[in-house]
Subunit: 313 residues, 2 copies
């Protein structure tokens, strides 16, 4: 039996980054009985967690100092490096043998480098990108694509059990989790662009878009993203659930990895150009299904709710 099982309150977890994902993960661990300390660069985010009954900290180093588990839920590899090794970084205060769970999407080479530097501090590193969105984070039902040493997994277990519905254990080397996540993001980013290209092409031809949705979701042209994102287009509602800028970032990482490995990615490259165009046209913070609005503007197609377009277009 795990030494934590009888008294999970003995496990202290720090969460660095209390955005929509991090807050849900912090709450899930608290609900499971862990003692959770939260930090965010925005004080209001910390206050929100304190209002939930959580503990707050003024710096990452403060949050991490008694923690058995530090979960980093920031945007990218550079921010993760700053959380670890920047001024007030957690590596300076984490207890020997504690585990750093890295959730940001990043180049596997960056994950390998960070893991090596964390190991050199006598700490454990779990490469653990997440998938599932804010709703699953709040429910403690994320999918985690994890790789790391046995010790890293053992130390991380109470946190993983609380945050995830499914943990893929992908091997003992940091970088493997990150690589799986990038394969998923390549596909997700291309599929959103394809869905928007197709549904707006259907609009351009004057087809009944609800019928197109019905037929395609029952056909070989379906994708998880078509089924999930096209309803935003049909509703004309581009309130961001996941933004254009997320895929500017993630397909940018795919491009960098592919260029460095001399691997051609023509589909991901074409998709990235469309996300860049949407961001350049002022839709960067809007929902990623805003690519449909970009195609509409480029072609004169009429989509539902086009009155809601940003003024910049």
């Amino acid at each position: 039996m795990s030494p934590f099982a009888e008294n999970p309150g003995a496990v202290v977890a720090a969460v660095i980054g209390l955005g929509s994902m991090g807050l849900g993960m912090a709450r899930s661990m608290k609900r499971a009985g862990l003692d959770v300390v939260g930090y965010d660069i925005t004080p209001a985010a910390v206050d929100r967690f304190i209002a939930d009954g959580g503990r707050g900290a003024a710096t990452p180093a403060d949050a991490a100092k008694d923690a058995d588990i530090v979960v980093s839920v920031v945007v990218n590899g550079a921010q993760t490096e700053a959380v670890l090794f920047g001024p007030e970084g957690v590596a300076s205060t984490m207890k020997p043998g504690a585990v750093f769970i890295s959730s940001a999407t990043m180049d596997p080479a960056v994950a390998r480098d960070l893991a090596q530097r964390v190991d050199a501090h006598g700490l454990h590193y779990l490469d653990a990108p997440i998938s599932g969105g804010a709703a699953k984070a709040a429910l403690g039902e994320l999918t985690i694509m994890a790789s790391g040493s046995t010790q890293a997994f053992d130390r991380a277990r109470p946190g993983l059990d609380a945050m995830a519905g499914k943990v893929y254990e992908l091997g003992d080397a940091a970088g493997t989790g990150a690589a799986f996540k990038m394969i998923n993001q390549l596909l997700a980013g291309v599929h959103i662009a394809a869905a928007c290209e197709a549904i707006t092409f259907a609009a351009k031809q004057g087809l009944d878009l609800d019928k197109v949705f019905e037929v395609i979701t029952a056909s070989a042209g379906n994708s998880w993203m078509f089924e999930n994102r096209v309803p935003h287009v049909l509703a004309g509602d581009y309130t961001p659930l996941s933004s254009i800028e997320i895929f500017v970032k993630d397909l940018g990482i795919v491009q960098d990895m592919a260029r460095s490995e001399r691997y051609p990615v023509p589909l991901a490259a074409a998709a990235l150009q469309m996300y860049l165009a949407a961001a350049g046209a002022g839709m960067g913070r809007d929902d990623d299904s805003s690519l449909a609005r970009l195609y509409a503007k480029l072609s004169g197609a009429e989509l539902p709710g086009s009155a809601k377009e940003p003024h910049s277009l």
Copy 2:
């Protein structure tokens, strides 16, 4: 009650084109009790249907002369035009009021033109592209995306009921069925290319490909095509179920339509270039998942069963 219900043998159906799809459709109608006459440009295909107990014909005109329903299952719009109006074409012998069911994938503008010319002969035209593959054709469980007049649907009904598991009735104008099919093909063609780009990128990074398949099919990066085609790559088996040349054709139609409508399709365009490269490299008649072999050759990635590659590579 339909006049045919008590004696479906009274309905005569001609099938023009007895390839893997057409033969399955002819057999399904025969199994449902229709009197089926088959024609194919290859005499051996007709002999195969005769060996099943079907009736054969020496020309399309012969096959169609007593038919209530003529089902055309050829490759494209040009072949469909030849079936109708070429030497020995069916339009010259079809009975007044009989229906021509057109199953080939084609530009909606071509479907509209053919329908107009068929109408002028006192015949009915049902624009009825099919989806589902040879296995579903054999079972009489195709998906049919159909549009046409009420009379065309009424006349076609005994054939549709026998051939399809699901008939989408998409309106009374020829061309709408074709347009829905092209939206599906745009997505299907892009998703196969994305699946091959992603799985081979995973191979290039040395990931466990079976594990990649398991994780992606349970994640937001999944598509119908990823789930269906990647197993061919994992098995190293490129026996054609649907070939590279099919998507050279279908994404070519998408390009032509999009160019004519001043609609940009950067994703479909990038995918088409990869199908063209695969065809140019000698894999045109191989399974469309052969795009993975193309990515492997372009990058040095190692895929399962690479010993089975065609010599032309």
